[in-house]
């Protein structure tokens, strides 16, 4: 809608598919009863995209993410990452969890936490050191290398988790409500951090959130989920300027429109509305 911003030109308009989720269905089998968490989810994400998934609480967002991450087997349908069917955690993927305090190894220093996955990938030592240093610099934690995670604030711990994911050089970065547990100011900083890392590294990002503002501010596209059992309610293209700014972007009339639209969709989802199939 506005002139193409500078950042967008550098991004190749490739249309290769990074992630393909086809008719994903997940039923949890319990004792004597089964719960259908995800009914039928189909969407694709192109290489280099930043897509947000938003849905009412209990919409099976975490189930979806765990299926995509290969942490959970689906009941039907499939998840295809870079042309390969996901049956377990794939090599080109990194996940940032909501529970930062529980996803970092408390017995390791910040540096060791970031370095461990690289050691597992058998990255040579010099290269490893460079990646760790650059990742920690990128999240603004170059000075905290020797600290243990529990010596840091919540926002800083989540930065470490992001640095670990970034240093791993994934093709797909999954983020499961990563900022739900940090305070509002830290959250704004971290949102901008994700945007800038995404732009710099050209990584594909799938960002799951329950926060409507966050999804509109961050994403190029927002996939709105229905209530459980989950289907895709609508895919909303976020045609905001590529250069996002907490103050400027959020006060654009278009931001308000998109936000209102997603908000309405979520309200409908809560009311049990489903797309006609």
């Amino acid at each position: 809608m506005t002139t193409a911003p500078i950042g967008a030109a550098a991004r190749p308009e490739s249309s290769t598919t990074m992630l393909d989720v086809r008719n994903l269905k997940k039923v949890y089998e319990g004792r004597g009863r089964s719960v259908e968490a995800v009914r039928d989810l189909t969407f694709t994400i192109a290489s280099g995209e930043l897509v947000c998934i938003v849905g009412p609480s209990g919409a099976g967002k975490t189930t979806l993410l765990r299926c995509v991450a290969g942490l959970l087997d689906s009941t039907a349908g499939e998840v295809v990452l870079e042309g390969e069917r996901v049956t377990g955690p794939p090599p080109g993927m990194a996940v940032v969890f909501q529970e930062y305090g529980r996803s970092l190894f408390p017995w390791m220093t910040v540096r060791q936490n970031v370095e461990l996955p690289l050691k597992e990938k058998k990255v040579p030592k010099a290269e490893r050191q460079r990646l760790v240093r650059e990742a920690l610099e990128a999240v603004g934690l170059a000075d905290a290398q020797g600290a243990h995670p529990w010596q840091l604030s919540g926002g800083m711990q989540q930065r470490v988790a992001i640095a670990r994911a970034v240093a791993y050089e994934p093709h797909l970065l999954l983020m499961d409500e990563p900022f739900a547990a940090v305070d509002a100011q830290t959250r704004a900083d971290l949102e901008d951090l994700v945007r800038s890392l995404w732009k710099r590294l050209g990584v594909t990002v799938l960002f799951v959130t329950h926060d409507i503002d966050e999804s509109v501010y961050l994403g190029q596209r927002v996939i709105v989920l229905s209530d459980s059992p989950t289907v895709v309610l609508e895919e909303v293209t976020i045609d905001l300027p590529d250069e996002r700014d907490q103050l400027v972007t959020r006060s654009l009339p278009r931001f308000a429109e998109l936000r209102a639209h997603v908000y309405e969709l979520i309200q409908q989802a809560k009311g049990g509305h489903r797309p006609a199939s």
Partner: protein, 260 residues
């Protein structure tokens, strides 16, 4: 301020022991009871009883057997406990059996083990192992089971190989629990070290104490008991130092959680 509080700490630490020793000293000062010799007499014979050959002839063999038995028990307990804690099937199969064996007091195994392993060092080490292994094993099982779900998922996502998973996730994660089990095992080990030497032995602290008692060398017998107490304190100090080093992260984590 800091030195003052450190001084206070030492004072508090030593207050009760000093009081007890003083009470003992005073109560037995002019004792003529053959079985309750004055503490002064016991302390007087301590040096010549233990440091004229018995330290290397009795104390060191005892400690060597304790050390070997204890280390074998810890290795066995951590190994089996990790395996059992990681597998639901194994747990279901073995848990009732483990409870049974754990409930058997190890000293009753001494006569049985003597039949199989003789009366040499092997028997004594086996007795120590058979008693020390349970707290380590059961705590390791619990520690491994209680590993954080998110941490497990993280390890899976970053595709940690089984070996690194074991070293960096499972063993480190369960280490606070394992240490708690190892601490219990240490005091059990000291008890079993003494008991195994009381049955059939030709050296050791337990053996020496029994010898003194049988030959009515009562002050010497008392020094043996004091010696055991001192060994217990020394081992516990060493254990705590090692624990503080290995689990400094855990102490820090707990403190930060309490504050936050």
């Amino acid at each position: 301020m800091n030195t003052l509080s450190a001084g206070r700490k030492v004072l508090l630490l030593l207050a009760v022991p000093v009081l007890l020793v003083a009470a003992w000293w005073a109560a037995t000062a002019d004792s003529t009871d053959f079985f309750w010799p004055p503490l002064s007499q016991i302390v007087g014979t301590f040096g010549e009883t233990w440091f004229t050959g018995r330290f290397t002839a009795d104390v060191l063999p005892s400690l060597a057997r304790l050390l070997v038995g204890y280390l074998v028990a810890v290795a066995l307990g951590v190994g089996l406990g990790t395996a059992i804690g990681s597998s639901r099937t194994l747990r279901g199969l073995l848990e009732p059996v483990l409870e049974f064996f754990r409930a058997i007091p190890s000293p009753v195994l001494v006569p049985i083990l003597m039949l199989f392993a003789g009366i040499g060092n092997e028997m004594k080490v086996l007795v120590i192992v058979s008693g020390c292994v349970w707290p380590v094993l059961l705590n390791a099982v619990e520690g491994v089971r209680a590993l954080d779900e998110v941490l497990r998922d993280t390890a899976r996502c970053y595709r940690l190989r089984p070996h690194s998973r074991l070293v960096h996730l499972v063993l480190r994660g369960a280490s606070p629990q394992i240490a708690a089990g190892a601490r219990q095992a240490l005091s059990i080990g000291i008890i079993l070290m003494v008991i195994s030497e009381m049955f059939a032995a030709s050296n050791g602290v337990g053996f020496t104490i029994i010898q003194f008692q049988r030959s009515f060398a009562i002050p010497q017998m008392w020094t043996g008991i004091i010696m055991l107490g001192l060994i217990g304190i020394a081992l516990s100090v060493i254990f705590r130092a090692a624990e503080a080093r290995l689990l400094s992260w855990y102490t820090g984590l707990r403190m930060s959680q309490r504050e936050g």
